[in-house]
């Protein structure tokens, strides 16, 4: 009884830690791996809640396919979140004016 309680508490803490890491991390590739870890832990929790069909679906679709689609999207866009492209002079002044208002 107390053993299953410890397992559930550890899984819940790992889940929330992975979610906070996925949102706070600036390097997008690491955030994608954290999303895969969320799907993995969610699949284990579904199995503990006696739902084997849902656990199988979440494992098959959430871990493999969602992660690979995110990796392809990162490959075609930028890798880091705080990448700044070089704006033109007039646009930079326009941004400064708007921000001060």
């Amino acid at each position: 009884m107390i053993f299953s309680l410890i397992i559930i508490i550890v899984l819940v803490l790992l889940l929330l830690a992975a979610a906070i890491y996925a949102v706070m991390q600036k390097d997008l590739l690491y955030a994608t791996i954290a999303t895969g870890v969320i799907s993995l832990i969610l699949s284990i929790i579904f199995f503990i809640l006696q739902a084997p069909d849902v656990a199988l679906t979440e494992a098959a679709i959430g871990i493999a396919l969602t992660t690979i689609i995110f990796v392809f999207a990162i490959r075609h866009t930028s890798r880091r979140e705080d990448e700044v492209t070089i704006l033109e002079e007039s646009d930079a002044q326009e941004m400064d004016n708007k921000e001060s208002v």
């Binding site: 069909d53 656990a55 199988l56 098959a60 396919l65 690979i68 689609i69 392809f72 999207a73 075609h76």
Partner: protein, 239 residues
Amino acid sequence: MKKVLVILMLAVIAYTLGTSFSTIKFGENRIGDPKEEKTVAAFYLNRTPSELSVANVITAIVVNYRGFDTLGEVSVLFLAATGLGSILYRRRKKGEHPEVITKPASQLLQSGSKLIYPAILVLGAYVFIHGHLTPGGGFQGGAIIATGLLLMMMAYKDFEIRHNVLTWVESIAGITFVSLGLTGLIYGKTFLENFLPTGNLNDVVSGGIIPIIYIAVGFKVAAELAGVLETLLSNKEND
């Protein structure tokens, strides 16, 4: 300013959700005895082994009792695959081949994936053929097969699946699903009515048209997901 407002709104949402879900007791038996069918869940649990001879109750709900929703879900996946292909479409100039991955994969990946690829295909086929006996079904089996195809696409540069084959498999599977439903309309009273004889519980051939529909759904989902992955993989970057 925006941050403070958002955190305030999140706190209000947390309070609302927390108080309303604390009134739903975790683990309480709300479905009653299956023999007296007082709730929808008791109705499904009681009728499934006797009327349909299907072991997996969730397969019976998804394919038979709520089969029309599965038709909608399959069409949503089809729309997603089509939308993805049309948004990322680029007109190719003459004589230009779509470039896949430029660096060859390592030796470990190449020899390992050749060994494990048939096993993944057989596992996926097993999962969607036995969907009415064990946990599994069309969606799970289709996703497993698509993952096996992805492994081969990433290990070998010249492994390609022609779009014609994928389109034909997907169309034939979709036509099978809808025509089985229409045949039910002719034979019985409703769309997707179970008209084949149901065998004994826990046989492979049992449950009427439920295994046939799930096999068609498995092929369709595998073809769609493989098409999505092929579209994303063969787009040239930095154009």
